[in-house]
Symmetry: C2
Subunit: 659 residues, 2 copies
C-alpha cells in the first residue's frame, strides 16, 4: 500500500478479486501479487482491501499516469485557442481545464484507466505461469493480464468507485435539495457523472420547468366552467400546447449546444464526426478493410467501392427497419388490440384481473425478445459510430413500447369513442404507474442490495457455524460492489439505465400530448411527477446504484427525434379527438367545423416543420466563438502547413498514403 | 499596347471609357493615360480599342499579378492535403489546380480583378488634377481612381469579357449539341461561368432526366384506357410521383455535394460558415460593431449582448415575414380571386381579353413594387452572409409569384370543381407560356442588341451626315458591350438572371406536381420543354447576353426549399383533388374512400419528412475524403500549434485579443 504523499489521489476504479487465503505462498507467482506489481509499475496507486467474501483492489492514478495514457491514446483535448489538439504531457498549459479545475474530465479519466488496466501485457520472452489458489495457468506473451484473469474468473468485476466527498456534497445540494424546485448543480453533475447523465438531468429540468405552463392551462380548463364556450376553448388549448411543444424542442437544442459549449466539448453539427468528441468508444468511420487496403486503386474505383458499400448498408438498414415495423404491425398490434378488446368485452372483474396479469407477464417476455432481435439486427448493420448504433436501437425498441403503451388508449379513444374509459385509463397510467415507478426505481435496487447482503451473511454463517455475531460490511468498496449496477431493463450493452429514464419521460410526454384534448389535467400530473422525478433519479444514481460508467455524448440523440415524432403524432390524434368531440351525433359530414380542424392540422404541421428554420439551433454567442476561433487558428497555422506541404514532397506523399 | 510575349494572356475584363479626341493633349494629365499607366503598374496587360462611340480598355492579368492580389486578399484555397489555407505566391505547388488546369477559378480570378481595379488609390502627398475633354477634376489622396472616374461618368461600365476560344467551344459542345439530350460538359461550364451557373445547369439537367419517369407514367395514363380501374390507377400514380419528387430532392442534394467536392470547394453543412467558400461577396458573420469593440467586457456581458442582438434580429425578421405574408394574403389574394372570378363570370370574349391585358399590366407593376418592398425589408434585417440575404429575398418574391401563378388554378380546381377549365388553364400555361418564354428569352436580348446597334448607327449618321456607308461594329468588346446584361427581371442587385430561370423551373414544377391527378400528361409537356430549355438557356448565356459576373455558391439555396415546399403542397392539393374526383355527387361524407385518402396523405407527409433521414445528404466517398483528410491535417499541425500556444504566451494573448 503506497499513497503518494503530496497529492491526495482519489480511488476511482475498483477490481474485485478472490480473497487471499491466510497462508503466505510464494509471492512471485501469485497472480494477485503480479497484478498489483504491474499496476504499480504502470503508475497506479493501489490499495487492497479485504472484504467479507472478496478482496477489493482500488486504483487511483496521479495526473502524470493519466497524462501518459492520454498521450498514448492520442486523445484530443480542447486548447485555449478553441481547437482540439492531440494531448501532450509537456504542453499541459495549452489545454483548457474542466469547470472543476481538473485537467481531464471524468470521461477522459475513465478512458485512460481503461486503457492502462487493459494495456498490461506480457512483455517477457516466454509465457509466465501464474498461480491462484492451487490452480496454475499460463499468461502468454503479448496477452493482456486482465483479460487472462477475467477469463479465469479471478477478476470478477471492474467498476468505477464513488468519490465519497463529492458524492456527499451532491447528495446535499442536488438529490436531497428539494427546495431548489427544478434547479440543479449541472456543472457538478457533469464533472461527477459525465456528459450523458448531465444532459439527461438538464433535459429533465428544462422539461419540468416548461411543463408548468401547460399544467397551469390544464388546471384552468379543469377548474373554470366555460359552459357553451368549451368547444371554442379546447382548440385554443390544443394550438397553444402544440406551439409550446414545438418551441420546447427547439429551445432545448439551443440549451444543449450552450451547455456543451460551456463544458468545452466540440459540438459538431450534422455529419462532421471527425470533430466529434470521441468517448470511451472511439467514434471512427467504419470503412470496410478492403477499402483501406487498396490504396493504389484509382479514384473512380475507390468511389465506386464506397458507393457500393454505402448502398448495401442503406439497403440492409432499410430491410431491418422493414422487418421491425412489419413485425410490430403484424404481430404486436393484433395482440394488443385483442387484449384491449377482451378487457372491454369481459364483464367479470376476476377474469379481467387474471387477463391483465397474464398480459403483463407476456409483454415483459415480448419486450425482451424484441430487444434481443433488435440487437441482432443492429449488429449486422454498419454505422459510423456507436452513438448512431445506440440511436438505431432506441428507435426500434421505442417502436415496441409505443405500441404497448398507446394502442389500448387509441382503441378506447379513436375506435370506440369511449371517453370515460379513456380518461380512466389516462389517470390510471399517469397517477398510479408513475408513482409506482418512482417508488420501485428506488426501492428495487435497495431491496436487491439488502438481499445480497443477507445472502452473503447467511452463507458465511452456514460455513463458520452460528458462533459469530452479525457480519458487518465495513469497506465502502464492498458495499458498492453489492449495489446493483445502473443498467437498462432491456439488458443490452449499448445502453445503460438512462434508457429507462428517457423511456419513462418519452412515454409520459406522448401520453399527455396525444390525448391533451381529452384530458387537459394530465399536464399538471406530469409536472408534479417530474418535480419528484428529478430528485428520485438523482438519489438513485448517488445512493442506490454503483457509480455508472461515464459515457460521452453531445446530444440526447434519438430521444429528441422521438419527442418530435410524438409532437407530430399528437397534432394528428388531437385533431381526430376534436372531430370526435364536435361530431357528437356521428354524422361524419365535412362541415365548416371539420374542415376548419383539417386546415388547423395542416397549419400546425407547417408550423412544426417551419419553426426550426426560424430559430437557429445554436445560440449566436456559441457560434461566434466557434467560428471566429476556428478561422483564427487556421490563419496561424496556415503558413507552417503550407511550407510543410509544398516544401517537403516526402510529407505530402506521407499524407497521401495515409489518407 | 503591350502584350507579354511568352504567355498568351486572355483579356477577361473590359472598361468602357469615352472615345479619345483626335488632337493629342498633354498626356500626363489625361485621365485615361493615367488610368492605363496605373493598370500597367499594377501588373495588368492593357489593350485599348476604339469603338464606334466609346473606347474599350481590355484588361488581362498574368498569373503573378493575380497571385499577388490573392495573397493580399488573404484568399483561402484548397491545398493538396484537403484543407483550405491562405494563398501565398511562393508556395503555389501546394495548391490544387482547377479541373481545367488553371490555378484560380473564374470566381477567384474575378475577385482579384475587382480588388486590383478598385485598389488603385492616390498614394501621392497631394491631390492630382486630372483632365478629360476640357473638364478638370481632383483625384484626392487615398481615393480610388476608378470610383472617382465612375462618379464623373468617365468609366461607364466594367464588365467581364467573353473568351472567344472557349465560348466557341462551349457553343459547339454544349449550347448547340442537341444530340446529347440532357448531357452537358458541366466542368467546362463551371470553369467558364463559375459555380452558381454550373449548379443551375446541373440541376436543370438532373431534373429533366428524372422527369422522364413521371412523363412516361403520365403518357401511359393518358393513352391506355383503364375503364373502371381508373379511380384505382390515379392514387397509385399520385403516390409514385410524390415518392419520385421526394427522392429527387434528396438525390439532388447528394449530387450537389458530389459536384462541389469534384470542383474542390469546401462544402460546409449546416451553420459552419467559416469553412464556406467565400466568393466575391465575403461571407463573414455580421456582428454589430459595438460587440467587437468592447473586447474587455466579461464573458457574461458579451453573451448577453449577443443574445440581445440575436433576438432583435429574429424579431425583426419575423415582423418582416409577417408583413409580407399578411400583405400577400390581404392585398394580393383578393385581387387574384377577383380576376379569376370575373374571368369565370364574364361571357364576352372581348371583355375577357381586355381584362386579361389589364391584369397582366397590373401584375407586372405589382411584382416590381413587391420586389422593391422586399428589398427594403431585407436591408433592415441582419444576415450572416449575402447568400442568406439572397435566399430571404427569393422566399419573399416567390411568395408573390406563387399567389400570382396558382391562385387562379386553385380557384378553378378547388372552389369551383371545374375540371374542364382547370385542364384548359394548365395546358395553356404549360404549352403556350413556356414555349413563348423560351422564345422570348432568346429573342428579346437579341432585339435589344439590334435596337441599340441601330440607334447608334442612326445617331452617327445624323452627326456626320449620310455620306458614310453602313457603320460596322468591328471590335468584339463593343459588340458585347451592346448586348444586355444577364440580370433578374425584378431588377435587384442580389440576384442575376438565374433568378428568372429558377423561377420558371419552380413554377413549372409546382404546376405539374400540384395538379398531377387532374392532368397527368403535364409531366410529358414539362419534360419536352426542359430538354429545349437546357439548350436555349445555354445559348442565351453564351450568345445573347454579356458574360455574367461570376457568383460563388455551394448549393442552389432557397430554391431547393421551395421545391420541397411545393412537394408538401402537392401532397395536400392532390389529396383534395382525389377527394373531389371520387366524391362526384358532392355528398362530403367521410366514407372509407375519403378516410383512406386522409390516411394516405399523412403517410406521404411522413415519408416526405422521413426520407431525408434514410438517405444521407452527402455520399460516403465525399464524406470519407473530407473526414479523413481533416483529421490527418489536424494531427500534422497539432504539435506545432501546441508549442505556439503554450510556449509563447504572447501569441496566445494575441489570439485572445483578436478573437
Amino acid at each position: 500500500m503506497k499513497v503518494h504523499p503530496e497529492e491526495q489521489a482519489i480511488f476511482e476504479v475498483c477490481l474485485v478479486v478472490p480473497k487471499r487465503k491466510t497462508e503466505e505462498e510464494c509471492v512471485t507467482y501469485d497472480c494477485l501479487e503480479v497484478l498489483e506489481n504491474a499496476f504499480q509499475k504502470v503508475g497506479f496507486i493501489v490499495e487492497r482491501i479485504d472484504g467479507v467474501t472478496d478482496e477489493f483492489m482500488k486504483l487511483a492514478a496521479p495526473l502524470e499516469t493519466l497524462g501518459k495514457a492520454a498521450a498514448r491514446l492520442q486523445m484530443k483535448k480542447r486548447t485555449h485557442i478553441g481547437m482540439d489538439l492531440l494531448f501532450e504531457l509537456d504542453q499541459v498549459k495549452a489545454f483548457v481545464r474542466q469547470p472543476d479545475g481538473s485537467l481531464f474530465s471524468w470521461c477522459e479519466r475513465f478512458r485512460c484507466y481503461h486503457h492502462l488496466i487493459y494495456g498490461i501485457v506480457n512483455e517477457n520472452q516466454s509465457a509466465v505461469t501464474l498461480k491462484c489458489e492451487e490452480e496454475e495457468f499460463q499468461w502468454n506473451v503479448g496477452e493482456s493480464l486482465i483479460r487472462t484473469l477475467e477469463s479465469k474468473k479471478i477478476v470478477k468485476q471492474i467498476f468505477p468507485l464513488h468519490d465519497e466527498i463529492r458524492r456527499k456534497k451532491l447528495l446535499g445540494n442536488w438529490a436531497l435539495n428539494w427546495w431548489e424546485f427544478t434547479g440543479q448543480p449541472l456543472d457538478e453533475v457533469y464533472s461527477y457523472f459525465g456528459t450523458k447523465v448531465a444532459l439527461y438531468f438538464a433535459f429533465l429540468g428544462m422539461y419540468t420547468r416548461w411543463l408548468l405552463f401547460p399544467a397551469a392551462l390544464g388546471l384552468i380548463l379543469q377548474l373554470v366552467e366555460f359552459g357553451s364556450l368549451r368547444l371554442l376553448v379546447l382548440p385554443i388549448f390544443f394550438v397553444s400546447i402544440i406551439v409550446w411543444a414545438v418551441m420546447f424542442s427547439q429551445f432545448w437544442r439551443r440549451k444543449n449546444s450552450a451547455l456543451v459549449a460551456r463544458w468545452q466539448i466540440n459540438y459538431a453539427f450534422g455529419g462532421d464526426s471527425s470533430f466529434r468528441f470521441s468517448g470511451v468508444e472511439c467514434g471512427s468511420l467504419q470503412i470496410p478493410v478492403e477499402l483501406i487496403k487498396n490504396q493504389e486503386m484509382d479514384k473512380t474505383k475507390e468511389k465506386e467501392a464506397f458507393q457500393r458499400f454505402e448502398w448495401f448498408g442503406c439497403l440492409r438498414r432499410f430491410r431491418n427497419d422493414a422487418i421491425v415495423i412489419l413485425s410490430i404491425i403484424c404481430l404486436q398490434l393484433p395482440f394488443e388490440l385483442a387484449y384491449a378488446h377482451c378487457y372491454e368485452v369481459i364483464q367479470s372483474d376476476v377474469i379481467k384481473f387474471g387477463l391483465t396479469v397474464l398480459y403483463l407477464f407476456s409483454i415483459q417476455y415480448f419486450t425482451r425478445l424484441g430487444a434481443k432481435i433488435s440487437m441482432k439486427l443492429i449488429n449486422c448493420e454498419n454505422y459510423e459510430n456507436n452513438e448512431k448504433r445506440a440511436d438505431s436501437l432506441v428507435y426500434k425498441i421505442f417502436g415496441l413500447y409505443f405500441m404497448q403503451s398507446y394502442i389500448g388508449v387509441f382503441y378506447h379513444a379513436l375506435l370506440h369513442r369511449n371517453f370515460a374509459t379513456l380518461r380512466q385509463v389516462l389517470i390510471q397510467r399517469l397517477l398510479i404507474s408513475e408513482v409506482l415507478e418512482n417508488l420501485l426505481e428506488n426501492s428495487v435496487p435497495y431491496l436487491k442490495y439488502s438481499y445480497r447482503k443477507y445472502k452473503i451473511r447467511s452463507n458465511k454463517r452456514r460455513e463458520k457455524g452460528s458462533s459469530q455475531g452479525r457480519i458487518q460490511f465495513t469497506s465502502r468498496a464492498e458495499k458498492e460492489y453489492l449495489k446493483p449496477s445502473y443498467s437498462a431493463s432491456i439488458g443490452v450493452e449499448l445502453e445503460d439505465g438512462l434508457f429507462d429514464d428517457y423511456l419513462e419521460l418519452a412515454l409520459q410526454f406522448g401520453m399527455i400530448m396525444m390525448f391533451a384534448c381529452a384530458f387537459p389535467l394530465a399536464f399538471a400530473f406530469a409536472a408534479l411527477n417530474n418535480i419528484t422525478e428529478i430528485r428520485t433519479d438523482a438519489l438513485k444514481l448517488l445512493a442506490m446504484h454503483k457509480r455508472p460508467f461515464p459515457r460521452a455524448a453531445t446530444t440526447i440523440g434519438a430521444w429528441l427525434n422521438i419527442f418530435q415524432f410524438l409532437i407530430v403524432m399528437s397534432i394528428c390524434t388531437n385533431c381526430a379527438l376534436l372531430v370526435w368531440l364536435y361530431d357528437q351525433e356521428g354524422k361524419w359530414k365535412i362541415e365548416p367545423g371539420l374542415a376548419a380542424i383539417l386546415v388547423m392540422e395542416h397549419v400546425l404541421l407547417l408550423v412544426k416543420f417551419g419553426f426550426s428554420r426560424l430559430v437557429p439551433e445554436e445560440p449566436a454567442w456559441v457560434k461566434a466563438n466557434r467560428v471566429q476561433k476556428a478561422s483564427q487558428v487556421q490563419d496561424i497555422c496556415s503558413k507552417q502547413l503550407l511550407r510543410t506541404i509544398s516544401g517537403g514532397e516526402k510529407t505530402l506523399n506521407y499524407v497521401k498514403k495515409t489518407v
